[in-house]
Amino acid sequence: MTQGVGTEALFHGHDDLDFRRVAHIFLRTWPFIRPAMRHLVIFILISVVIALFSATLLFIITALMNGGIVGGKPLGQLHVLIYGLDPTVYVDVEELDPDARRSLRWLVILTTIPLVAVVAGGGIGLYYYSVWIFQGINQRMRVSLIDRLQAQSLTYHATARTGDAIYRVYQDSAMVTQIIRAIFLEPLMFSGRFLFAVAIVAAFDPLLAVILAAATIPILFLGRVFSSPLRRAFRVARERNSRLTSWIQESVLGVRVVKATRSEALRERSFREYSLSAFEAAFRSRSMLIVLGILAFGANGLAVLVTQSMAAMWSNVEASTFARNILLGFGFAIWNLGSFSAATGRIGDGLGSINALISLWGRAQDMAVGLGRVYEVLDLKPEINDAPDAMPMPSFGDAVRFRDVSFAYLSGRQVLTGINLEARPGTVTAIVGPTGSGKSTMMSLLLRLADPDTGSIEIDGIDLRTLQIDSLRSQIALATQENILFSDTVLENIRYAVPGATRTAVIEAAKVACADEFIEGLPNGFDTSLGERATKLSSGQRQRIVIARAVIKDAPILILDEPTAALDAETELRVLDSLKAWGSGRCIFLITHRLSTIRRADTVAYLQDGRVGEIGTHDTLMARTDGAYRRFVSLETTDSTTETESTSG
């Protein structure tokens, strides 16, 4: 379970997020929000203006409509002021006469038009504006995630699962767009509305306001009780979904093997299992969220019910309102249909806000979990970093040296031990050895895909760790045994690392790699699109494209990690001759098994169990009777045909 343990621990490490951690996670979004702060402030200001404007208009309309027209009760001074009404007809009367009530209808319509225009128009505009702002924030976060993942060393990528990465970037970082709403905008808005409601209702009757405020106590209590189980449930749901995504991805990636081994049913069975468990987790978490909402509404509804009934009774006896002198202006000096509607409307709005706030809190638990998972990636320090005083790599001229280099991917599984090696420009160094002897790892260290545990690698006497990684890698070209192509055209694949390269340069590089012939035979030549994983090409063809990609980089150091393994002998010879002609003055490292290739090297380093067993030219090493290298070579040649054996000396 070695590899597994790392990731699993990562997933289950923080089942219990406490409030501090949640707050911390929320705070962590700040760097991504900050660039959008100006827009957010504008957004809030416009929202507040619209909210106040519409609340005031609504109050005026309620008095007109419910109090005046429907209830026939007199209006307040405010209406006289705004609409220029005759106070003797509309205010200082016991009941409004029918004609006065009829005439008020136009005022309602007149006032509703700006209300609808502002609320609908402004609301829609604001929504689009917020989508735009939040997408920008989300984009920053996604890109930063990709950056971080790309910068992780191979040790991390050896254990992490690709599907998990996708899931994090997609589902989890999207939570950022909600987080600002959840922790900032909406609590602000909802608490504002609630307090506004309490203040207004207090003016009608302080007892109502007390009940309204008391309703928050059980709701806050519910929020507290539910938070932790909700977070746990959401975390499980997300992890299971992530596992399912990984499973699909891996299955499709390895579909050839799945078919060849007839394990479709097996893959499907596990898929079924994972899918069910993912749904089960979703069911649990979402049901819990619903229960929270329902309980909160129960407390809420009770308060509405009590206050509404009290207001109805007061209206029945036409009791006077508490702050009658203030409310007089609106026509709400005594309890009647108008004041009943206005007060219950506010109570409903206030408690509705609290309700929305609690359901938001429930959903915020999910966001906290989502963001927590994002930060698990973001918090990983890239193990390979530029030193603070890293310098650009000077142009290469003297030598590449490995000094006592030791390395292990996982402690206890030593891959390289005490490697010493020197390579100079204009030479080809072959690194030879049995499978698993650490040849490729040596080259990974040269590229600083990982750092040696002890010892150092130096270029022209400078330790790699003091160089800027980008400048180091720009001086090294690499062609690997796993020939990875991208779903793009041949042209783009070749100039992948050198996006500015001209077409001529690409064709030139293809020639060096002996790839030009078959490329020109493709349907669209260099512009042929390869599709994901370039399955249309044979391995040999892919290898040559990979070699061309290394060539075009025109770097002083070239690493060929068994790039010719899939080439037949004839093609390999041509490629090697061509490479050697091109590579004069460069320092070439060659990892290979083929004798034909090894023999062309200036130096052969024979690796065995992570140590340099023997080093020298092919001839010197062959001269050692009983040498490990000699034994290695003789194995390769003894089963060659007897008739050609004589020529092999």
């Binding site: 999207a174 709403r181 959401f234 050839r256 081994t261 129960g298 509804g301 002998a569």
Partner: protein
């Protein structure tokens, strides 16, 4: 990076066809969906009852009118309740209403005229693009009420949704696994994830939209219209406007569907491209770091992601536009009716409480009408996803290209009779190949890179099917054999080893799940993998990371070979798996294959002479044709033979 696959326009006819298919797919769940519908209707009936107690409160408590003196008649479904209140004092009426409201809170979490009303929605916060919103769709559930009924309805529907989606996901995954290998050259992994995870919920969503939503909406609309006609006949315009609202709301939505649909499609496609870019970047992280191309990868991702967001915004614009049109229609209607209602109240033909009921009912009416109107709109939105799902379901799978005959274990051998194969893009990979292999023989395919050796090997295992000619196992054409039977005969080891994130043992055992631990160990021994496996921390129980984790290519390759050996299949195809083995290991391995040789037909593609020489017969290929065949010695004795030239070149290089 990858290009965005924009599908052509979906016609309305195609939409209906897709809907029909989706309905057939959920047909097995008809009973559950029926229950869901019943629950919804019960909830709605209660919701429609709720404004009436509020009217009672306003008329008889707030306004103090005596019960029974209302100018408008109560509908029959309310009058039984009002009859209970005759003769009660306002104070007593309040208590009755409190009691009934308490019941409402517990049962449906609602009372009053729309202000104090809750509904159950389990939706989680979603991101602002289609992929994350699909996550909520996969968990589609909800109720128009809350309380106990709402909770029950929510949980019930969530279960159905999960069952439907689970079935569909599994179906899709199974189809993906059964696709012929050639389909994969163009299909991308990111796309597969997207279709399975994010596109499938479209179907369950659509089914609720078709089966539950319209009936629920029509129920509300009908009740509202009937009630206004019955109780508010004093003001005929109320009913008239209620009837007029329908065509206006529906028409406004209909006009906008085409554009919306196209934008939704584009938005989803862009999302898939972004996923693919992430996936490619992560899978190839070594290459990208090694090439120093991290910056380039980042730029590509940022661009793809930006594009996906942009398309989503353009989709949002359409949705918002629709909302504007509908609210304008609604406001117009409300104004029109408002005038007449006020008049009726002033002259006493209606009571103030009626105003509350009419208002609540109009809110319900417009809500349900726009629900009905946007039904078409939502269908369009989901058609894109549905089509992407059915694309997968409809694509022929391996089994469609083959029969279902079974043969016993291969006894005699395999014969290829003038077999030709062309890739979908027209490239001829294999031409007119005749070949014979008997059990007990070792056959080698030799030739230059790109000569068609791998394709020929694929033909043996039925990964691809010949356009002309036939492949026969013991005289049975492979096209008549079932996929399972054919693959059971052939163990295939690929050029590039692929390992799953599982234990070493399970990786080896894949083709023969029932094999014992000893079988696995034996296969590992033959593949020269035993030694390094035993050096792993947990030996055979070591879990490999993503794609083999820290194993070297050679180690992975040996595990892949062990995997090919473990089932003891009569035919073993080794497609150059030894290329990354050092000669010592390869020799040991090829030597080890001698055991059990008599019961096995071995095809091997190799470049190493030492390996090729062991073959009983060599087929030398050039440009898809077999140009020479025979034993090594026979072919070497042909003067100027193609094989001989090839070998001499190889040895000349080697020495």
């Amino acid at each position: 990076m990858a290009e965005i696959v924009s599908s052509e326009r979906i016609t309305s006819r195609e939409t209906f066809r897709l809907l029909g298919r989706s309905l057939r797919f959920v047909w097995p769940y008809r009973r559950q969906i029926g229950v869901k519908l019943a629950l919804t209707l019960i909830g709605l009936a209660i919701v429609l009852f709720l404004p009436w107690p509020l009217k009672v409160l306003i008329d008889h408590v707030v306004m103090g009118l005596p019960v029974g003196s209302s100018p408008t008649p109560y509908p029959p479904y309310v009058s039984w309740f009002v009859d209970l209140l005759v003769g009660l004092t306002p104070f007593e009426i309040v208590w009755v209403i409190i009691a009934i409201s308490l019941l409402g809170i517990v049962l449906v979490g609602a009372f009053g005229g729309g202000v104090a009303r809750d509904y159950a929605s389990g939706g989680l916060s979603e991101g602002l693009d289609t992929a994350t919103q699909s996550e909520n769709q996969a968990n589609e559930s909800g109720s128009r009420v809350s309380g106990l009924l709402g909770l029950f309805e929510f949980r019930y529907q969530l279960r159905i949704t999960h069952r439907i989606n689970h079935g569909l996901r599994t179906l899709l995954f199974g189809r993906l696994m059964a696709w012929p290998l050639t389909r994969y050259s163009d299909a991308s992994v990111g796309d597969a994830v997207y279709r399975t995870m994010y596109d499938t919920p479209a179907i369950s969503r659509v089914c609720y939209d078709i089966l539950v939503l319209p009936i629920a909406n029509l129920f509300v609309i009908a009740t509202v219209i009937w009630t206004t006609a019955h109780s508010f006949s004093a003001v005929p315009t109320i009913t008239l406007v209620a009837c007029l609202a329908a065509p206006m709301v529906l028409l406004s939505t209909f006009l906008m569907t085409g554009v919306t649909r196209r934008r939704s499609l584009a938005s989803r496609a862009a999302g898939a491209v972004t996923t693919a870019t992430v996936e490619e970047g992560m899978s190839n992280v070594v290459a990208i770091q090694g090439l120093g191309a991290s910056q380039r990868q980042r730029t590509a991702f940022a661009a793809d992601s930006q594009e996906s967001f942009k398309r989503f915004r353009s989709y949002i614009v359409m949705v918002l536009l629709l909302i504007v049109v509908q609210s304008l229609v609604t406001v117009g209607l409300v104004f029109y009716v408002f005038f007449d209602i006020c008049e009726a109240i002033i002259v006493g033909r209606m009571s103030p409480g009626d105003f509350t009921v009419v208002y609540a009912y109009f809110v319900q009416l417009v809500g349900n009408l726009s629900g009905l109107g946007s039904m078409w709109f939502n269908l369009q939105n989901n058609v894109a996803g549905m089509r992407r799902v059915y694309d997968v379901v409809d694509a022929p799978v391996d089994a469609d290209l083959q029969g279902d005959d079974a043969i016993e274990r291969l006894r005699r051998g395999i014969e290829l009779d003038s077999v030709s194969y062309r890739y979908p893009d027209g490239t001829h990979a294999v031409r007119e190949v005749n070949l014979e292999g008997k059990v007990g023989e070792v056959i080698a395919f030799v030739g230059a890179t790109g000569a068609g050796k791998s394709t020929l090997a694929y033909l043996l295992a039925g990964f691809v099917h010949p356009q002309t000619g036939s492949v026969r196992f013991d005289d049975v054409d492979t096209r008549r054999m079932s996929v399972d039977c054919l693959r059971a005969q052939v163990a295939f080891v690929f050029q590039e080893a692929f390992l799953f994130d599982d234990t070493v043992e399970n990786n080896i055992r894949m083709s023969a799940p029932s094999s014992s631990h000893d079988d696995v160990v034996e296969a590992a021994r033959v593949a020269s993998a035993l030694e390094f496996i035993e050096g792993l921390p947990q030996g055979f129980d070591t879990r490999l990371g993503r794609m083999g984790g820290t194993l070297s290519v050679g180690q992975k390759q040996r595990l892949a070979i062990a995997r090919g050996l473990v089932g003891g299949a009569p035919v073993l195809v080794l497609d150059e798996p030894t290329a990354s083995l050092d000669p010592e290991t390869e020799n040991a391995f090829v030597g080890a294959l001698e055991t059990g040789r008599r019961d096995r037909l071995l095809f091997i593609i190799a470049h190493r002479l030492s390996t090729i020489r062991r073959a009983d017969r060599i087929y030398f290929m050039d440009e898809g044709r077999v140009v020479e065949s025979g034993s090594h010695n026979e072919l070497m004795s042909l003067p100027n033979g193609a094989y001989r030239t090839f070998v001499e070149l190889q040895l000349g290089g080697a020495t």
